[in-house]
Symmetry: C2
């Protein structure tokens, strides 16, 4: 019998082509924003039909590895070398999920802040300071690209660990989707700013323990607000005795 060691088609042709496209990008030394050859040319290059090639491109586009711009071209996306990401498919997130999300952040972000206090570079301190003004993501109706990164993202990046930064970024990306629907969290913007400032100073001064506890308090406060919104939803408006 034998498993037909050669020539066995485990995966679809379009999947194979997708891998070849990635390899092509790597081999060509292309990086984010660079353009690829036209689709018809790529199809010829890989010896497949334009439709098949197109499916491959869509697969890569779905994960942010590529960007297809109608009438313009195919470009390398931002997520090609990324390891952890938010599910691009996920739509709006329920308030319950938002609470779970914040609990997860409460579990891991303090430690990340402590790491940042130890590993942060001078540039990190500078970026962190700039991020203070951006604060928690301003309520943009349209999620415009390349908006300045928010404080927590920069903080995670300062930890010096790319993976941790990607994790926080993923959580905040999901969170952002959430905020478009429910504007509850982050009610007190002034308090937010003060807490961020305190964390900034602790990280700048290289105090891991203080950075840890301040971040913990900050997220605990946010969690309180979110949980309050949640229970307010479950027991609406009310004095109480409300069922539903």
């Amino acid at each position: 019998m034998a498993f037909s060691p050669e020539g066995l088609h485990r995966e679809s042709l379009s999947q194979q082509v997708a891998d070849q496209v990635v390899e092509f990008i790597r081999r060509s030394g292309l990086s984010e924003g660079d353009s690829l050859p036209p689709t018809r040319e790529l199809a010829r290059l890989f010896g497949v039909n334009t439709g098949t090639l197109r499916e491959a491109l869509r697969q890569l586009e779905a994960t942010g590895g590529l960007s297809l711009r109608h009438g313009s071209g195919v470009y390398v996306g931002p997520n090609l070398d990324r390891l952890v990401m938010a599910n691009p498919t996920s739509v709006t997130v329920s308030l319950e999920t938002a609470v779970v999300l914040i609990r997860a952040r409460l579990a891991i972000e303090p430690r990340i802040a402590a790491l940042a206090a130890v590993h942060r570079s001078d540039q990190d301190v500078r970026l962190l300071r700039e991020a203070l003004s951006v604060a928690s993501t301003p309520p943009d109706p349209v999620p415009h690209k390349s908006s300045k990164p928010n404080f927590h993202r920069v903080l995670a990046r300062a930890s010096g660990n790319q993976i941790l930064a990607e994790i926080i970024d993923s959580l905040l990306t999901v969170h952002r989707v959430e905020q478009h629907t429910i504007r509850v969290v982050y009610s007190d913007r002034k308090k937010d700013f003060e807490q961020h400032s305190a964390i900034y100073e602790a990280v700048r001064d290289g105090d891991p323990d203080l950075s840890f506890s301040l971040t913990e308090e900050h997220l605990a406060d946010i969690l309180t607000v979110a949980e309050g919104a949640l229970s307010a939803k479950d027991h609406p408006a009310g004095v109480m005795a409300s069922r539903e």
Copy 2:
């Protein structure tokens, strides 16, 4: 001039169809493993060409939201409701990245173990015990589906926080890819088992502090091995002359 508030095509048709497919799945109450209508029928349903529909399906398949089986049908995948995931595109990971990965786990997993000690259910304890025998992923040449989840995955699930479980799962998924290339890490399987057992007991007994420290030690040991392999690669075969 105005921004033509209506009818403006921000995203491609295939992208819109992808969203419609997700909505269709949700509205139909389908869950993982359930089958969708045939592609031609779906194309008719959404009023697009089969090629366009196919691109939409590929986008969803790329993130594990769907599964297309040649000759069989289209099925709901495992990642439709997931929030955080490993980049499906990423190929092999360098040893340097593996070290970064383990450092990230060292930063967050102890806290997760502590949470598990507090929140674990009786069923979690049972699953955790079973996972002890599977130990750290056996070196499978072929990543077969539905293999029993490894200890760390089950541990994270016992934390009661879905997001944290997804994060750990993502890290281990990336890691698995890594192990296919480099078989260095997890050298001492017996020691691994003993440390897992100790963590299991601490979680079972509801001791968060002990669970924390044991997990921390366990990962620190793994990190040591990985860093050793890394420096051995940089300074091959050497007696010492170790720097750094």
